[in-house]
């Protein structure tokens, strides 16, 4: 049994802007990998194109920094061809949800055993500041000088809509929270989407501001943990309850509310209705949900592929090329 430290996964000097959320995430990824303990040479980190997609260059693992939007498809081929590898797929909001949207939803639908990281700063950074598919309506950018006239995606909604089985969220500056969800994503068999909320200091400074600091998160975020009551606030004085088909924030002690009335998080629930409500919560009315929101076991694609190969192999009487030839109608010319 080898033991690794974060240093064993580290390579090179990142070239992101000072203060970029990518720096924080990279450090958390190194740390999470060391805690997981899979050898660097048994890992492939596969990204697309964009600021965050530079990440594989700073990994002492196998990996590819590929083409814009295609990393989920490339990672699928890599994992299915070599299921012994642990595959981390990394993309940004533009890479993963705009040009790569189709691959993102289908990787989730198939449930390929990939750890899919979505670094969401709600902006195209590498092309110097255009609105992305997660930028809010009205967002002013170089390509939307009068504000956008379109609505954004919520990544969790896409993941759930594609019948994804794992979705978690962390803030880049929160190392412990990030490491926790990365470990949970690794542990989950199947496609695991981790949305990382991060700042772009140059082109979208202040996005996710309400939860970017520890103090902010204490007020404006809720850490969801399976089996634990949904409490939040600086002194855990607030909680979530169900009201009709929606959620409501309540204060403990007010109107006779006690901890017993508070919803308990069930990440393993097959029905994603409540998980969806949690993932869609926004301030100021609601806290932003962090942690593992959905984590449901389901058959994985790569396991299915190999189970079928094994099953069919046992039934068929040909196992090499020349035996295959003889399964055809043949005739002899003398």
């Amino acid at each position: 049994m080898c033991e690794f430290t974060a240093k064993d996964y580290k390579k090179g000097q990142p070239r992101w802007c000072p203060g970029c959320g990518d720096h924080f995430f990279l450090a958390s990824l190194h740390k999470a990998m060391a805690e997981i303990g899979v050898a660097p040479w048994d890992i492939a980190v596969i990204s697309g194109i964009g600021c965050s997609s530079r990440l594989p260059h700073y990994m002492n693992t196998y990996g590819m920094n590929t083409i814009h939007g295609r990393s989920a498809a490339i990672a699928t081929g890599c994992k299915v061809a070599n299921p012994n590898l642990t595959v981390w797929q990394v993309s940004g909001d533009g890479d993963g949800l705009a040009i790569g949207g189709n691959h993102f939803i289908h990787a989730n639908r198939r449930n390929v055993n990939l750890n899919m990281i979505l670094l969401n700063n709600r902006i195209y950074g590498l092309t110097k500041g255009q609105y992305s598919p997660t930028s809010p309506r009205g967002f002013v950018s170089k390509s939307s000088p009068y504000g956008t006239v379109e609505d954004p995606f919520c990544p969790a909604e896409l993941c759930f809509g594609a019948r994804g089985h794992f979705f978690a969220r962390a803030v880049a500056t929160d190392a412990a929270g990030t490491v926790d969800i990365l470990k949970a994503a690794y542990k989950h068999q199947g496609s695991s989407v981790c949305e990382i909320l991060q700042n772009c200091v140059i082109f979208n400074h202040g996005t996710h501001e309400s939860v970017y600091t520890k103090e902010g998160r204490a007020k404006n975020a809720i850490y969801l943990e399976h089996g634990k009551p949904m409490l939040f606030g600086e002194n855990k004085e607030f909680g979530l309850v169900q009201e009709g088909f929606g959620l409501k924030v309540v204060k403990l002690g007010e109107n006779g509310i006690t901890e017993k009335d508070i919803l308990v998080h069930d990440a393993h629930c097959e029905d994603n209705t409540l998980q969806m409500k949690l993932a869609l919560m926004q301030g100021p009315e609601f806290p932003v949900a962090l942690g593992v929101i959905r984590d449901v076991e389901a058959p994985t694609y790569d396991d299915g592929v190999y189970a079928q190969i094994e099953e069919v192999s046992a039934k068929k009487n040909y196992h090499n090329f020349e035996e295959l030839l003889l399964t055809n109608d043949t005739w002899e010319v003398k």
């Binding site: 295609r70 498809a73 289908h106 090329f321």
Partner: protein, 614 residues
């Protein structure tokens, strides 16, 4: 005795089965070619099916045809026109008669020439034979009724009984060509192994068709015999180009000791390769039907990085979508085979028809300097060798390779002698030598300029590849101008260094007045045209190309050797243009046709004769 029939010896014959797309014409045609091949005839077949899933029954657009060319000696094409035309309904006669020789024998099912059938086929009178001015021998038989009579006590319903009509026609054709029905019986019993009643019904009907011909002599003057002159003994099977392509990949993966991965997306006429490979799980083949063409190719790039023989297959607009990920494999220098079964374009074009119009796209249709080897299979059976060779080049030279076939060779079939894998050359990918551990960098090259392959999972060789230009020495991202120029040259030289066999000159290689030049799937037609011209006393040779990039080393020498050269291709002159780019001062005659149909040998002969007479 009046019973005696004249049996005419023939060297070759072309039979065309046609009917409604639900009439089982492909099966009848296939079965007839298998029966003929089994007695040692050479065969070449071509299905001609409509693009519609199911046009209205009896309509002109719903006609499906299957042409079989059988010969005592080698046959190169499915034939221009047929000697026997089977038309199972009025619409088939209307649309298919143009494929019949003036001497052809025509077989029709009179039960499907009733008033409503004639109306659907847009006949104006109730005598279609007269209306079309047909002077040929016509065997007009009430096939549907005879099938029903024959199966009257089988307990089958009307619809099931009529499904056997194709076997009656086949029986009649078997009588006409003195074919033994035993092979057909065995085939049907195997095909319907789980439904023995269906097998027996079909067998009964095939005999009824045969006996009908025998008993009535069916108003024809003679029957035929085609003796076999085949001299290459061994075990054979009938194989289509698409199936042979799939087999070529399987064979190459086995030889190289690698897993075979196919990333694909359904598209006519390439889908049969996906179908075929999906069947062979017991050989460990992994097929992923992706969300789109892009993912088909992209996932194959991922599989290649992971250490598999990676293939992606497509046709038509699919090749446009794949070009981005193909380029990624170029810059990452990873092995990949891209199969393009060419069809009519542009855009959706003619999905079920054949062209050679993707050549320049696969050679040059990518951003940047993006050299890529290109091979073009020359016949249905050559698809096997071409797929094997494309895989070998990809794996040994760490490069994506394009394998071009086309709808004609992909769907056509021919008799194929079962290959022995031991006789095929070894495939040795340049795996990174273990002793380089510690000093290796990702773009370190062997003496042939090929990057080493380090498979993930190997300790000591972790590395990052990518779509950004890399420093040749360190493998890190580099925008250095000198390095980019160097990398561009290295990628180019690597492809130029690939050794391919010389192009062979067939025919009058020493003193031809005209050299015919072609590439890929037109080989059979060009060869047949050359044979006809030579039989008429002309001095003609053929140089047919399978290796397009790099071109064979003797290309310039061959092109210069003959007074006249004609490049004949099913596009507007793409190969001719490519040769002109590669060969200084080369100005050939051109024969270009883009009809979606195979060349017609007679038309080639007259066009080439005209060039000879200039």
């Amino acid at each position: 005795m009046a019973e005696e029939m004249i049996v005419k010896e023939l060297d070759q014959v072309v039979v065309r089965f046609s009917g409604d797309s639900g009439d089982g014409m492909q099966l009848a045609g296939n079965l007839f070619s298998t029966i003929s091949a089994t007695v040692g005839n050479d065969i070449s077949t071509f299905p001609d099916y409509p693009a519609d899933i199911r046009a209205p029954q009896g309509s002109l657009t719903g006609v499906s045809g299957f042409q079989v060319h059988i010969g005592a000696g080698k046959v190169f094409t499915p034939g221009d026109e047929c000697d026997v035309l089977v038309a199972m309904n009025a619409a088939a006669l209307k649309t298919q008669y143009k494929f019949a020789k003036s001497t052809a024998c025509i077989i029709i099912d009179t039960d499907c020439f009733q008033k409503s059938d004639l109306e659907k086929a847009a006949f104006k009178t109730d005598n279609p034979i007269e209306e079309m001015g047909i002077k040929n021998d016509v065997i007009a038989a009430p096939i549907s009724q005879m099938v029903k009579d024959c199966l009257a006590d089988s307990g089958m319903d009307n619809k099931s009984m009529l499904k056997c009509r194709n076997m009656f026609a086949l029986g009649l054709v078997c009588w006409l060509f003195n074919r033994d029905l035993t092979i057909a019986e065995n085939f049907l019993r195997e095909k319907f192994a789980k439904k023995p009643a269906i097998a027996e019904a079909n067998i009964k009907v095939i005999h009824a068709g045969y006996d009908y011909g025998h008993n009535t002599h069916s108003s024809v003057a003679h029957t035929y015999r085609i003796e076999s002159k085949t001299v290459n003994p061994g075990k054979y099977m009938d194989i289509t180009g698409n199936k042979a392509t799939a087999y070529g990949f399987i064979a190459a993966a086995e030889k190289a000791g690698l897993k075979l991965y196919l990333g694909s997306y359904p598209i006519t006429p390439a889908t049969d390769v996906l179908h075929e490979l999906s069947k062979h799980k017991s050989l460990g083949v992994v097929t992923v039907q992706c969300e789109d063409e892009i993912a088909g190719c992209a996932s194959a790039v991922g599989a290649s990085y992971a250490g598999a023989l990676a293939v992606t297959s497509t046709s038509g607009p699919g090749i446009c979508l794949k070009s981005e990920a193909m380029n990624l494999a170029v810059i990452m220098e990873l092995p990949l085979v891209v199969l393009d079964v060419q069809r009519g374009g542009p855009a959706t074009g003619l999905p079920t028809k054949s062209e050679q119009t993707d050549l320049l796209q696969v050679l040059f249709g990518r951003n940047g300097e993006s050299p890529m080897p290109v091979l073009a299979a020359t016949s249905p059976t050559d698809c096997f060798d071409a797929a094997y060779e494309a895989s070998k080049i990809a794996l040994e030279h760490m490069t994506p390779v394009v394998l071009l076939t086309d709808a004609f060779v992909a769907n056509g079939s021919a008799a194929w002698k079962l290959p022995k894998l031991a006789e095929y050359p070894a495939i040795n990918p340049p795996y990174v030598p273990a002793e380089l551990k510690g000093t290796w960098t990702p773009y370190q090259r062997n003496e042939e300029g090929v990057r080493y392959w380090a498979i993930p999972g190997t300790e000591g060789f972790t590395h990052i590849l990518g779509g950004l230009e890399k420093d040749n020495a360190t493998g890190a991202i580099s925008t250095n101008p000198e390095n980019h120029h160097l990398m561009t040259q290295l990628r180019q030289q690597k492809i130029e260094k690939i050794q391919v066999p010389d192009v062979e000159v067939e025919g009058d290689k020493d003193d031809a007045e005209l050299l015919i030049v072609g590439f890929g799937g037109t080989y059979g037609h060009l060869h047949a045209a050359m044979d006809e011209l030579r039989a008429a006393g002309k001095k003609v040779a053929l140089a047919h190309f399978k290796y397009i990039n790099p071109l064979p080393a003797n290309t310039a020498e061959v092109m210069k050797k003959y007074p006249k050269v004609v490049v004949a291709e099913q596009n507007m002159g793409q190969f001719a243009g490519y040769l002109r780019m590669k060969l200084d001062g080369f100005v050939p005659y051109q024969y270009n046709e883009v009809k979606g149909q195979p060349f017609v040998v007679n038309e080639l002969v007259s066009a080439f004769t005209e060039i000879l007479n200039k």
